[in-house]
Symmetry: C2
Subunit: 341 residues, 2 copies
């Protein structure tokens, strides 16, 4: 790749100046006393030769690589990861940086390997990302340099970027209240483990808290709460079927994520019920399926792209140590309507 590239020495020679002069001019160093004419000649020479610096040589000296490590447990390869990476890529490009991506798959050996590979390459900083929003333990090896946690927190008081699930919970509940739902709102996706263990999930507790706050403020209590061992379509399906067997049918269902909501749609369809005329549904994540469902599923979007971007900004531009919460916008779709009177 890229043999025969012009070197700084070539540029200097062509400009009739020293390497020092060429280096200073090209780096736009302040306070050098090089003449305007010298500047011209260097720029011209660099242009004519198509000069591009050899970054290996530069970083050998400066210990900077303009490279960021993006280390994740498994995020890089899931449907949700795309946005995180895209946002990070965009922000990195704007700052003339590049992303070195690795995945640990939750395996300690792989993680060790990944981190060594990053350190060997002298990355300028590390973005440590998690697939599920959660609290985790950062490997000590990366604490030597700048680190930002993405979609995660830790006990190290490191800068971190999280979705604002609490506010999303309020938004979801508030949307239902606005439509006039009060006494027949059901919640699908309660889960003691996700709510209790921060190392597994931060989202479950925050979403629940937001929902409860908003409903509490309005003096409303939930009609029913369904517990699910996982947040997958089949669990949403089963929970919804169970709900429909109860004496009072809910007027609206809040699902803790879109996959549960997908299962809920399936069960409602089978029961001959129509969304939103018979039952409104609202959810979290804005998974692509949310817009594919009929009718479209109202949901609060995980702002992955914003989050990825924010992580790079915090890493390179520096930033507050308190968690950086990114808003989850409510996507209003046709799954919401006033309760059938």
């Amino acid at each position: 790749m890229g043999r025969n590239r012009a070197t700084l020495a070539d540029v200097a020679r062509r400009a009739g100046l020293s390497k020092t002069a060429a280096s200073m001019v090209l780096n736009g160093r302040e306070g050098t006393r090089l003449s305007a004419e010298a500047h011209q000649r260097v720029f011209a020479a660099a242009e004519e030769l198509g000069y591009r610096p050899n970054l290996a040589a530069r970083s050998l000296r400066t210990r900077k690589t303009a490279t960021i490590a993006f280390v994740s447990d498994i995020v890089a390869t899931t449907r949700f990861a795309g946005g995180l990476i895209r946002g990070a890529l965009d922000a990195a490009r704007e700052r003339d940086h590049v992303l070195l991506i690795t995945e640990t798959q939750g395996d300690a050996t792989f993680e060790q390997y990944a981190i060594e590979a990053m350190l060997d390459r002298q990355v300028d900083g590390v973005i440590y990302a998690a697939m599920a929003t959660r609290r985790l333990t950062v490997p000590p090896a990366i604490l030597g340099g700048p680190v930002v946690l993405l979609n995660a927190t830790s006990s190290d008081n490191l800068p971190c970027v999280l979705p604002d699930d609490d506010r999303a919970g309020r938004a979801v509940a508030t949307a239902l209240l606005e439509y006039g739902h009060r006494d027949a709102i059901a919640l699908i996706g309660r889960n003691r483990i996700k709510e209790g263990d921060q190392e597994i999930s931060l989202a479950a507790r925050a979403r629940l808290h937001g929902i409860q706050q908003a409903l509490g403020d309005a003096g409303v209590t939930l009609l029913a709460e369904s517990f699910c061992t996982e947040w997958l379509p089949e669990h949403g399906y089963a929970a919804t079927r169970a709900l429909l067997n109860r004496p009072q049918r809910p007027s609206a269902i809040i699902c803790m994520n879109d996959r549960l909501a997908f299962g809920a749609y399936q069960a409602l369809g089978e029961a001959g019920l129509t969304v939103p005329d018979d039952i409104s549904v609202i959810s979290f994540d804005d998974d692509p399926i949310a817009s594919w469902l009929r009718p479209g599923l109202a949901t609060t979007a995980l702002p992955h792209e914003q989050m990825g971007r924010r992580a790079v900004e915090l890493l390179l531009d520096g930033g507050a140590a308190e968690p950086s919460l990114v808003a989850m916008p409510l996507r209003r779709r046709r799954s919401l309507a006033p309760p059938a009177s």
Copy 2:
């Protein structure tokens, strides 16, 4: 990041040998006449100091970086990309390489930028990936070194990795034939543009060809073919509704991808028809939704992980110039049954 690392000189000093000796021992050079004892001492010193070579220094000298560029139009951030990247990451790790990922978003300026960033970092090779399987034009700048096309071909006769859509087409049609479907098979997702313009899609034509071959071999002709401007759920939905308005109802539907099939399920559900008792459905891609649908959707899986892996292997281990076709395994799920008699 990683200050205070021991250098080769430190190792040499501790071992009481020269840098040359230390370098040769650590690189396992053949044909040096260094004594067994010298080997021991160098290894011991490196171990004790936790020595890790500075890759910037090494690549300055060797022009190798153990880094692969993964350049894609937009693949890195879509639901389909995950597998490609994961496979590539795995294969890269096995070969002690690392991936530098960039995305061009189909923008020429971004592409130019991305490629320069890669070349500046002296990557050992480039994987140029496309989101949709298609023919594309490779930017001349990257032809200076090893290149592998992933999910794409070009006119440059470069090594490339593609899914075997033709064989998948045969497999899909054959599966239906095995269940006894013959005269009432409908196809959803014909598209003149996708089938005609290789720069947009290679999959459409190949899948269609495979289907037609298999059916032709069995002396079967399609009951109906629906054209769709895009391969999204809404188009599958509309096409299926139209199909159901025809005098003869199909016994099975082939969808050109899973999103169309998702739309088909919606339309069938609304029409009160049951999959697979009333109509069988089979498709391509193995999108995550395929397993979420009720009943599970039979489909041929895009072997993204295999493909990503193969691309790295071709790049680093060298390989044939003819297209490397990766099999698309048939996922048998409950959407298949014999025709209702």
